[in-house]
């Protein structure tokens, strides 16, 4: 039990530190929301009358009468009440509404893609590692090259090839805007159809990493004594591969998977840019470009909680999967 209590305590401290950084780091950015809004409107043919600036200052409440410390404590207390504040760039929408509108798209698309990539990488890695020295070895350089190619470039090439030229997939967007949004099959199928290509690019570019890690672990596991024992017992080859080798070789990958779950939220910026996909990545960019502190804090909070939560979960699961970690503590 002490093991779990210590873990939980550690995560609470980490959460507080992350929340504090979330507050201070955005405020180190140059600029302020009102001036940026003005500059933006000006470029959209808006007038730059000083009266406009004054009215926006009043509207957005951009007065700096509170000290940074006061702002920090009110931020913490609001956070405890579940209030993330009001987004300046989507004023007067609440940060929680903005995130709520975007987050499901990201979680489903990137989450599924990460899961598929992980499962595929592990399965292929197991196979390639087990059949070492055969033609299957050539899969490794093939997938690593794809992983080494800059993601946005790969995505652009695939979009140009499969959408613009072959027209197999839609080029932009997350769903067909002429359909009614909701839980109806035409809409859901259009969302799935629109998601295939972005998901494909993520899987292609990330499967190599999982595969390589898994394959190498398989190779080193194969040299362990218990493998020899298993063989000596005359177990079926398939059983040895999965129950003895793969199960042990997968342990480091599972830990890595936790970290990558955190990137489900943050790593979607590129994908959403290339495919104009609705999601949290685009919102993060919007927040940064507009000095929208509240929205940035909100999104960073989601990322923080996602990473910490996933790590905690894996830490706890790890204790179950691998009793050694528990014992040594």
């Amino acid at each position: 039990m002490r093991y779990y209590a210590r873990k939980l305590g550690f995560y609470l401290v980490a959460l507080w530190a992350a929340v504090t950084l979330n507050f201070f780091i955005p405020r180190m950015m140059p600029g302020n929301p009102v001036d940026i809004l003005m500059a933006k409107l000006q470029q959209r043919g808006g007038t730059v009358d000083p009266a406009v600036r004054r009215s926006y200052e009043l509207l957005l409440g951009a007065d700096h009468s509170d000290s940074l410390a006061q702002q920090y404590f009110s931020y913490l207390s609001h956070l405890l009440h579940g209030d993330l504040g009001v987004s300046v760039s989507a004023y007067p929408a609440k940060v929680s509404d903005v995130i709520g509108q975007s987050l499901p798209w990201t979680i489903v698309l990137i989450g599924m893609a990460t899961l598929i990539s992980f499962a595929l990488g592990l399965a292929l890695g197991t196979l390639v590692g087990w059949k070492r020295g055969t033609w299957l070895d050539s899969v490794i350089p093939g997938t690593t090259v794809l992983a080494a190619v800059p993601y946005f470039w790969l995505a652009l090439i695939l979009a140009a090839l499969l959408s613009s030229t072959l027209q197999w997939f839609p080029l932009l967007g997350g769903y067909d805007v002429s359909l009614a949004m909701g839980w109806n099959w035409p809409f859901i199928s259009s969302a799935i159809y629109h998601g295939i290509l972005p998901a494909l690019t993520i899987v292609i570019s990330s499967v190599g990493g999982w595969l390589l890690g898994m394959r190498n672990m398989m190779v080193s596991t194969a040299a362990e004594d218990y493998m020899l024992t298993a063989r000596a017992k005359g177990l079926r080859n398939r059983r040895i591969m999965i129950r003895y080798a793969a199960r042990n070789a997968a342990l480091p990958s599972v830990a890595g998977f936790a970290t990558s779950l955190g990137f489900v939220v943050s790593g979607s910026v590129m994908t959403e840019q290339v495919f104009s996909y609705p999601g949290i990545g685009g919102r993060l960019l919007q927040a940064v470009e507009n000095n929208d502190y509240a929205l940035m804090q909100g999104i960073f909070l989601v990322i923080t909680v996602a990473v910490l939560g996933a790590n905690l979960l894996v830490d706890l699961l790890y204790g179950l999967i691998d009793p050694r970690t528990r014992a040594s503590n």
Binding site: A39, D49, P50, Y91, Q101, S164, L172, Y175
Partner: protein, 559 residues
């Protein structure tokens, strides 16, 4: 101001990419954003999803002004037209400019069926005055209802110059709905009720559609549906244009001179509107420092550059001539002062003039070919937003040109946030940007924004928008005088315009480069009636409000 810049210009496709992946061939393809034959798909440059907001007084409104909520008159900023009637039919000022009488149309209806009357106008104007957060025009008049179709506004002081804001940018809202809203500046108007030619049909974060208002007083517009789509930025806008998924967008595309060839069925129009300039932190009295605080240096830069080459290299020859008095050479032809030394900035470099200016100011050329004074080299840095490719090219081109004239110019690429912060606080030597126009086709607004002592501040404090910290008693006096002269009385106004322009030319706080064009691409095979160079009935920018509504009213399905 067409600052939706293409950051990377993607090349078609690079051959076949063997992926060793078998893809299940989903049939269908086709555009998601593409509408039916009666729907115009507009892309305003919206990056990322839409957040619903149809409050015309909100800075984050996604649409509404002009299309759903109408102004009293439409001011065409692209051409010197008389204001076109919308909800108003006529207006007149008294001699002193303290009383504005407006006649309204009697046949307009709100989209919920109620009749539009003078009460709505008076209510709207009062609401603006009472809510400082909505009063983006500095409106301080008192509106009184004379009868159902007449409104009178009185002011404490002559207010001719406020006319275009009040008449052209105050969106009239229904009293019977808005009077019940406690905080009108914070309501997002999910179901907007207006008098305009369009109504909201469907809102989705990725796109929203407006449909023709069948009860519009001018008759339901011929263009039945307008869909505004959200993409991830200008690059995806160019892609969508290429694949025919959008019908109208504003922003540069590669090879902009051959749009009709590269995009079959599409046409492009470029309207010179924004004067690109090197903004200088000019006023040492307000805390500016660096060689650019010397007018001689600013003028030397002005003379040393080769504008013809600049236009070709940085602006694909879409930019046009500029006047150092900052009146638009085309639109404000009659205003450009004859007392200016150069009515139009020289298109070719005047090396001898630049050299003489610098030598008279005490600069001597060093062995490296760069001028210096008191042991300090004449070196300047220009802040430019990274990603604004045409401006980056422009600055690099100018740097090469100025090197020949003995001035060292260094480009410094900074993020958008940092740039706008530096611009506001005056923490820069030079930066590249453009001066923007006001609500009416009159350079008065530009002068009052960028050259008035009232709109500036010391370095370190936020100035808006007189970023150069320019201060000139004669200009300020002329601006005050113009405020009290009827815009129709051009003869009386011209002497003041002459003063402002000559003072600006003398001191040159913003070094004029070229007049930048705002380019829009539109689908001419699907719809007819677009603005053209011969008939520029509205500023053809898709994000222009209410300009875009005026274009929608003129469009017809091509067949």
């Amino acid at each position: 101001m067409s600052r939706i810049r293409s950051e990377s210009r993607r090349v078609g496709i690079a051959g076949a990419v063997a992926l060793g992946l078998v893809l299940t061939g989903c049939s269908g393809g086709g555009g998601t954003a593409g509408g039916g034959s009666d729907t115009l798909v507009a892309y305003t440059g919206q990056a990322g999803d839409y957040q619903i907001n149809f409050n015309p007084y909100s800075p984050t409104a996604i649409d509404g002004p002009g299309t759903i909520f109408e102004p009293l008159f439409f001011y065409n900023i692209a051409r010197k037209d008389n204001p076109a009637p919308r909800l108003g039919t006529a207006f007149s000022w008294n001699k002193q400019g303290t009383e504005l009488s407006i006649t309204l149309r009697s046949d307009a209806k709100w989209s919920d069926g109620k009749k539009f009357t003078a009460d709505d106008v008076a209510f709207t104007l009062d609401m603006i005055r009472k809510n400082p957060g909505m009063n983006s025009t500095g409106y301080s008049g008192r509106a009184t209802v004379v009868d159902a179709t007449h409104v009178k506004i009185t002011f404490d002081k002559p207010s001719f110059s406020d006319g275009p804001q009040i008449l052209g940018k105050s969106w009239i809202v229904p009293k019977h709905i808005w009077s019940k809203i406690t905080k009108p500046s914070e309501d997002v108007m999910k179901q907007p009720v207006g008098t305009g030619p369009y109504k909201l049909a469907v809102f989705k974060p990725q796109a929203f559609t407006l449909e023709a208002n069948p009860d519009y007083y001018g008759g339901a517009p011929a263009l039945k549906k307008v869909r505004f789509v959200a993409l991830s930025g200008n690059q995806s806008g160019a892609d969508a244009l290429k694949s025919g998924q959008i019908d109208w967008q504003t922003g540069p595309v590669p090879d902009v001179r051959n749009v009709s060839k590269n995009y079959p069925g599409y046409k492009a129009i470029t309207v010179p509107m924004n004067q690109a300039a090197l903004f200088t932190c000019a006023n040492a009295d307000l805390g500016c420092s660096g060689p650019q605080t010397d007018p001689a240096v600013r003028k030397a830069v002005y003379y040393a550059m080769d504008r013809t080459q600049l236009n070709a290299l940085a602006f694909e020859n879409t930019a046009s001539e500029i006047s150092p008095g900052f009146a638009l050479p085309e639109r404000d032809r009659t205003v450009v002062s004859s007392r200016l030394t150069d009515r139009i900035a020289p298109m070719n470099p005047q090396a001898d003039k630049a050299a003489r200016l610098l030598q008279d100011a005490g600069y001597t050329k060093g062995s490296d070919g760069i001028y210096a004074k008191g042991g300090k080299k004449l070196a300047l840095t220009v802040k430019v937003v990274s990603g604004w490719t045409d401006y980056i090219t422009a600055v690099n081109t100018i740097a090469e040109q100025l090197k020949k004239a003995g001035i060292k110019l260094t480009a410094q690429q900074v993020s958008w946030n940092e740039w706008s912060d530096a611009r506001g606080r005056g923490h820069y030597q030079l930066l590249i940007d453009s001066l923007s126009q006001g609500p009416a086709p009159d350079p008065y607004y530009l002068y009052s924004y960028f050259f008035s002592a009232k709109t500036t501040a010391r370095v370190g404090q936020s100035a808006n928008p007189n970023f150069s910290r320019f201060k000139d008693a004669e200009v300020d006096a002329a601006l005050d005088a113009l405020k009290a002269i009827d815009p129709q009385n051009t003869a009386a106004r011209q002497p003041y315009y002459d003063t402002i322009q000559t003072e600006i030319e003398k001191s040159m706080p913003y070094i004029p480069l070229l007049t930048g064009g705002t380019t829009s691409e539109f689908n001419a095979s699907k719809f007819s009636g677009w603005p053209s160079d011969d008939n520029l009935y509205a500023f053809p920018a898709v994000w222009g409000r209410p300009d875009n509504s005026q274009v929608f009213l003129h469009l017809k399905p091509a067949k």
